[in-house]
Symmetry: C2
Subunit: 114 residues, 2 copies
């Protein structure tokens, strides 16, 4: 991965949006769609796959694709996934984070930030 600076960097950094809007907000939110539990599960999956030393998974505030959540972004590839569900996490971990192959069917559609 691109390397500027002195410190050891994660090989991949996975961002999971945890933003929670009030129930009924027309935008919806990733938090409302269960992203907190998905963050927990993805961290477990990364640990189970032996990737904990190379992949950092972190919860974030709003990633600005509320209506298309759950939103997950992966750097350095700059891959953004939309509409991610619990049942997609094993594939994200195995295919993308372990084998390095982004998963096209989960790509965020070409929409502007909200």
């Amino acid at each position: 991965m691109g390397y500027i600076g002195r410190m050891a960097k994660p090989l991949r950094h996975v961002l999971v949006c945890l933003n929670q809007r009030a129930p009924g907000n027309p935008k919806g939110s990733c938090g409302e769609k269960g992203s907190e539990a998905m963050l927990t599960r993805l961290k477990e999956a990364v640990a189970e796959a032996g990737l904990k030393q190379t992949v950092m998974v972190v919860g974030t505030r709003c990633l600005k694709h509320c209506s298309r959540g759950v939103t997950v972004a992966v750097y350095p590839e700059n891959v953004w996934y939309g509409g991610v569900k619990q049942e997609d996490l094993a594939e994200i971990c195995d295919v993308h984070l372990r084998r390095g192959e982004p998963i096209e069917r989960l790509f965020m559609p070409d929409i502007p930030w909200e």
Copy 2:
């Protein structure tokens, strides 16, 4: 920036650690060092510099460099800054986010994740 997938991506994505540990925790934390206010200020600075359409600034949970916080990471460059203070934010915005030049004096030292 590297582009995989269909959606418009931020040209730069800035992560600001907001993790807050209890006062007196020996690790310390970025939240304890005022990172919430710094996130607010950095977002304002990005807006004032006219970079809002290209730079996304987001608060995150723990970026795992608690004792060296406040921690700020910038993708796609994969630049990690440590010990960031309020008075560094204008420089980060102007020199790095606007002109594209990482700021060596703020680089996180070469230490493992905590």
